[in-house]
């Protein structure tokens, strides 16, 4: 049937004779730069990034350069002095890692305004308010165990130093003395970790009242997004009328996600934003007045530009070539194989659902699902399915994988690499890796971080592939200009932010860790991004339909896709980790 169908990018002429779909070429209009949501995501994202740079870069911690140089010199000296990591090496490492812009007073003030509801166990009010009396009670209860842990750590440090001194007296030539010194140091590190966990958190808790800050933040975020809304075809008054409701749903989702049990299982705010939203929209119905505030794409794309700034390409060499092979070679192989399996064998109806599930399974869970779904313009129900499945399977793997690794006596470096390359979310990777000990956790977390970096390339690749090959009639050749017209423009901001911050990070050396990573990114843009994603997922939930969701689950194909893809991921990641860490680069493993 002949006709003209309106799409986001242009007009599709559907021919009656041939049933061919021809996409008309759309002319570039400069007005898109201030009328289109994709471009506003870029402008607003960069506005925040530049504001963060202005705040953090001119204010380094006092004596930063000297302290970094001193720590580096100490690390080199200790590497040359002993064949193992000495007490002084660890102290220099801790000192270097503790130097952060986020520890400065101005950064702490900013963090207060961007903070989310806090952790709580049985009293939900504690997520927003803790009185001085309650804080004092918690401290009093926790202090005895904390002081005991502190004393135990001091004693272990003294023993470690003594054992090291004995080994040093033999010029570190006696293997037995070296082994005893290493054992003593390992014991000290374990007790130090125990002291710095929940014991310290409870023993040093201070009173807080987050309500005022949250109200202020809601106004700031609303005004921030209004900048773009004023130019887009959205009713500003109606947006504001619904925004407060959306913000409250996001806050409630964060409160639920920060409940102690939910935190342990990894069921965070993103999941609860969807669940709450869907519960409301599919029972009593989402209120009509919030419709203009449900700007899912706008929130997600702005958040993705900020996420792009956190994709620092130089980090892919963090654990050397083994890490690159495990995270950057295995992952694309699994992604492409799983997608092909979904298309050719499972015959999934929706390509966008296929690629979104494939990406979240083999790359990095929720963040990969968000970036990929946006790049290929997946439906919000498809993103919901991908996120929900990822969180569920992640909780299972977080328990099953380390249990198996420990039960078979697997080497912690191998186990850590396996965990980092297969479990979806960073928090679950850390939780699972921690079960293997400090080394296992460090390897797992580093591998996962390297995988996180890969999402930049994947999102760009998916966007180009979809424009050039998927969103066209079979046999149709798409011109470069047509690819440009169809290309989701926010991806330019996503990649651009990544390239710019990556170049700055590499150029700044160790100062990049202090000011960029532990300043601009972890201390500023990351918080904004988390809020934007929470709002986006609340919007998704409030505009989702159970029936539409159930339709995508027909035949259980997404679950089969996930399970089969993850099985391949587990096999290939383990094999590659073994080859790289034990056969090709055993010296790196020995050093870890």
């Amino acid at each position: 049937m002949a006709g003209i169908q309106k799409t986001n990018q242009g007009r599709r002429n559907v021919s009656a004779e041939t049933d061919a779909v021809v996409i008309d070429q759309q002319k570039w209009e400069w007005s898109q730069l201030w009328k289109k949501e994709d471009w506003w995501a870029i402008w607003l994202g960069f506005l925040l990034i530049i504001a963060g740079m202005i705040i953090f870069l001119p204010r380094p911690p006092e004596g930063m350069t000297e302290k970094l140089a001193g720590a580096d010199a100490a690390l080199q000296a200790e590497d040359a002095r002993a064949p193992f990591r000495t007490v002084e090496w660890h102290k220099a490492n801790d000192s270097k890692g503790g130097l952060r812009a986020t520890n400065e007073p101005y950064a702490k003030s900013i963090a207060k305004w961007l903070q989310m509801p806090g952790q709580w166990s049985s009293n939900v009010g504690e997520s927003l308010y803790l009185s001085e009396e309650a804080a004092a009670q918690r401290r009093a209860k926790a202090e005895p165990a904390y002081f005991e842990a502190q004393e135990a750590t001091k004693a272990a440090l003294a023993r470690a130093e003594a054992a090291q001194a004995v080994a040093a007296a033999a010029l570190f030539n006696d293997p037995q003395l070296n082994a005893e010194a290493e054992k003593g140091i390992s014991e000290w590190r374990k007790l130090r970790e125990k002291e710095r966990g929940s014991l310290r958190a409870n023993a040093t808790v201070q009173a807080y009242n987050k309500i005022g800050y949250l109200v202020g933040l809601s106004i700031f975020i609303g005004l921030f997004f209004t900048i773009g809304i004023l130019f887009m075809d959205i009713d500003t008054a109606k947006f504001w009328k619904g925004f407060w409701f959306l913000f409250i749903i996001a806050v409630i989702a964060m409160i639920i996600g920060n409940q102690t049990t939910m935190r342990k299982y990894g069921f965070g705010d993103v999941l609860w934003a969807i669940v709450l939203g869907m519960l409301i929209s599919n029972t009593v119905g989402a209120p009509k007045f919030i419709k203009e505030a449900l700007q899912t794409e706008y929130f997600i794309k702005t958040g993705l530009v900020l996420l792009g700034a956190e994709i620092l390409f130089s980090k892919i060499v963090s654990i050397g070539i083994p890490g690159i092979f495990v995270a950057w070679v295995v992952t694309p192989i699994v992604l492409i194989t799983t997608y092909a399996f979904g298309q050719k064998i499972l015959k999934m109806e929706s390509k966008t659902l296929n690629i979104t599930v494939s990406a979240d399974m083999c790359v990095c869970g929720v963040s990969a699902a968000i970036a990929t779904a946006s790049a290929c313009r997946a439906k919000k129900e498809e993103l919901t399915i991908a996120v929900g499945m990822s969180m569920l399977f992640t909780a299972v793997m977080m328990i099953a994988l380390p249990t198996f690794i420990v039960s078979v006596g697997m080497h912690p470096v191998l186990g850590g690499a396996w965990i980092g390359g297969t479990i979806d979310s960073t928090g679950a990777v850390v939780a699972a890796g921690a079960f293997l000990g400090e080394t296992g956790m460090f390897v797992a977390a580093t591998i996962k971080m390297i995988q996180n970096i890969l999402i930049g390339v994947i999102a760009f690749g998916v966007a180009v592939y979809w424009c050039a090959r998927v969103d066209c009639a079979p046999g149709q050749t798409v011109s470069k200009m047509e690819i440009w017209y169809r290309f989701p423009k926010f991806v330019l901001g996503f990649i651009g932010a990544s390239i710019i911050i990556s170049i700055m990070y590499s150029a700044m050396g160790s100062a990049g860790d202090v000011l960029l990573e532990h300043g601009l990114l972890r201390g500023f843009t990351r918080h904004a991004r988390e809020w934007f994603f929470a709002l986006a997922f609340a919007s998704i939930g409030l505009s989702s339909n159970f029936r539409e969701l159930a339709h995508h689950f027909k035949g259980g194909k997404p679950v089969i896709l996930y399970v089969c893809g993850q099985s391949l991921n587990l096999i290939l990641t383990l094999a590659m980790a073994y080859i790289m860490f034990f056969l090709v680069f055993p010296q790196i493993t020995a050093g870890l």
Binding site: D79, G197, T283, S318, G320, G427, A428, A434, F435, D513
Partner: protein, 87 residues
């Protein structure tokens, strides 16, 4: 006419009641999960050791990106300093 009006009101009121009951049921299920099912799961033999570890280390297993996790910061610093020795 009045009977018709009453008849018309009843389906709407019934529908609204069902809707609110549905919402309440959903919230109830969430409460059940948070306070009964998941805490019970933590007592199971294979799950308890990992959960105890998570509690002691104060890990947030729900973080989905590396900049949200303090442990990745320490991990990359440690691993980078170790790798530098071997380069």
């Amino acid at each position: 006419m009045r009977i018709m009006e009453i008849k018309k009101e009843r389906p709407a009121a019934g529908h609204r009641l069902r809707a609110w009951l549905g919402l309440g049921l959903g919230l109830g299920l969430m409460w059940l999960m948070a306070y009964v099912i998941l805490p019970w799961g933590q007592t199971l033999p294979h799950i308890r050791p990992i959960m105890e570890n998570i509690t002691a280390a104060d890990i947030d297993a729900g973080t989905y990106w590396y900049t949200q996790s303090e442990e990745t910061a320490r991990a990359q610093m440690f691993v980078r300093n170790v790798i530098q020795k071997h380069q």
